[in-house]
């Protein structure tokens, strides 16, 4: 029975990614047959070999670490401020009056457009990148925190106050947990955004990281390094997304 199950699993898994497999086989074939110039698209096998080489040499791990650190530190800062401001807007009329217009304008701005401005203001180091990630991820978190905090059932608040929760404790005891599904939705938008911002900033400003590693591949006429880096950032993106889903399923199992 177990064997059958295992084979079924393989079949299901293969089915779910068969379009991807076709794509990868096509890639290898097209490149091997010399239908495209090597510099545009080296064969998948070459890219994978280069990926293993860069991983074993420690380059991909090191640059991944730089990218991840910038993205995640910025994301944490952006999330904390986003939650605070979002909930404040929902709960306080003065805060709403002040912050709401800022959020309405700030959210749709393509933050990447401001990379040169950040280079002027904060330089090209870690600090500059982290600030940009923090600001970029702030918006979706703040908007989602605000929306969900505004929609909290009034009777939750009434019940809590009746049971002796003070106005100040209310935020932590009721508003935050009640708004947490919305906040996690914001986080699911902000997480890939933090990687995109870091990656682009590294491409433009250097200072190491996967973005810089990819651009280095272009500058040294090494297309395999370009694609190997893309694989690395893809894997990181998928892994983080999966991790966030797992956390969501665990902490928000009550939703």
């Amino acid at each position: 029975m177990d064997v059958t199950y295992a084979r079924d699993d393989v079949v299901t898994f293969t089915k779910s990614i068969y379009s991807l497999i076709i794509f990868l086989v096509l890639w290898e074939a097209v490149a091997q047959m010399g239908l495209v110039y090597y510099y545009y698209l080296p064969p998948l096998s070459d890219v994978l070999a280069r990926f293993v080489e860069l991983t074993l040499s420690g380059e991909i791990p090191y640059h991944s670490y730089l990218t991840l650190r910038r993205a995640l530190v910025g994301l944490v800062i952006g999330t904390v401020f986003g939650i605070l401001v979002g909930i404040l807007i929902a709960r306080n009329a003065v805060a709403e009056w002040f912050f709401d217009p800022i959020i309405k304008i700030g959210y749709p701005i393509p933050i990447i457009a401001l990379v040169p401005v950040f280079m002027l203001w904060f330089g090209i180091g870690d600090q500059s990148k982290i600030i940009m990630v923090a600001i970029g991820t702030f918006w979706p978190i703040a908007v989602n925190a605000r929306n969900s905090a505004q929609r909290i059932d009034k009777n939750y608040i009434r019940s809590a106050r009746m049971m002796g929760t003070s106005d100040r404790r209310l935020l932590w005891r009721v508003v935050f947990p009640a708004a947490s599904p919305g906040i996690v939705t914001g986080l699911q938008i902000a997480l890939p955004l933090s990687l995109i911002i870091t990656f682009v900033f590294e491409m433009v400003a250097g200072g190491g990281g996967l973005g810089a590693l990819e651009i280095e591949g272009v500058r040294t006429f090494d297309p395999t390094q370009v694609y190997a880096t893309i694989i690395a950032i893809m894997l990181i993106g998928i892994a983080l997304d999966r991790a966030l889903r797992l956390l969501r399923n665990h902490y928000l199992r009550w939703v």
């Binding site: 009434r158 019940s159 809590a160 106050r161 049971m163 002796g164 009640a178 009550w254 939703v255």
Partner: protein, 261 residues
């Protein structure tokens, strides 16, 4: 000893949304003894929910006073507990965690919280569901959790806003009887809002009928009966039928438009 009596005098409530003033309650005076079960019925929009929320302290009185045990109320407080029609359970907390909430706020130790909560969970026949989340429960079970949550922090007064309004008839009846048992055992003062005349008469020692808006006390119908009887004996008794009809008649005068001669 007075414990959980409510005194309402010359109560007035006006809603003012800036553009328009709506008088919901006008010159309402009413005293409820401690340990008494009072039902409140009235036409829709008569301000019966407003009255409950004023006693709860969610709303501020425009004029007049509401006192509990001689003290004018000042906002919500743990001497009173509210049970809502939509349960208002915290969805992120399990049944046990919902019931312990009020005790957590009072700083009761963890073991004591759990044992107290367990007592009320068992009282409401929720044993075995301690670790479930509200979304996994039926409406009737949710309302039983809500009642257990309110009882757990031991308020003297239960304020119930059409608590069984969303439940089907057999479920309502079993919860009504459960509530009566609790009321007798725990000696709470209960103010029970409903639009169901039979429910009001069956449960209450006195039923207050409110006028249409602006709502005020129209009449109070007392209904003292032998509580040792079972439901069927009660609802088929002459006394019950007569009382129900008089409440119904009084209420009908308020819901029917005045007939022009």
């Amino acid at each position: 000893m007075s414990d959980g009596d409510i005194s309402i005098s010359n109560l007035e409530k006006v809603y003012d949304d800036g553009a328009e003033k709506t008088k919901a309650i006008e010159d309402l005076s009413f005293d409820i003894d401690s340990g008494e079960f009072v039902g409140v019925v009235g036409p829709s929009g008569c301000g019966k929910s407003s009255l409950l929320y004023l006693i709860a302290g969610f709303l501020e009185t425009t004029d007049g006073t509401i006192s509990v045990d001689g003290e004018p109320i000042d906002g919500p407080g743990t001497d009173r507990g509210v049970v809502f029609q939509d349960y208002a359970l915290f969805p992120w907390r399990t049944v046990m965690e919902n019931v312990t909430y009020g005790l957590e706020e009072q700083g009761v130790s963890k073991e004591e919280r759990r044992s107290t909560a367990q007592r009320y969970i068992d009282m409401m026949d929720l044993g075995g569901f301690e670790d479930r989340y509200p979304k996994e429960l039926s409406g009737g079970m949710k309302q039983r959790v809500a009642i257990a949550r309110t009882l757990a922090y031991d308020p003297k007064i239960l304020l119930m806003d059409e608590p069984f309004g969303a439940l089907d008839q057999p479920l309502r009846e079993s919860l009504q009887d459960q509530l009566l048992d609790i009321w007798r055992d725990l000696e709470k003062t209960v103010v029970f809002i409903t639009h169901d005349v039979e429910e009001a008469v069956y449960l209450s020692e006195r039923v207050m009928i409110m006028t249409r808006r602006p709502g005020t006390k129209k009449t109070v119908v007392p209904f003292d009966l032998d509580r040792s009887l079972d439901r069927e004996e009660i609802i088929t008794s002459d006394k019950f039928v007569t009382t129900k009809n008089s409440v119904w008649k009084s209420l009908r005068e308020e819901t029917q438009p005045e007939v022009q001669p």
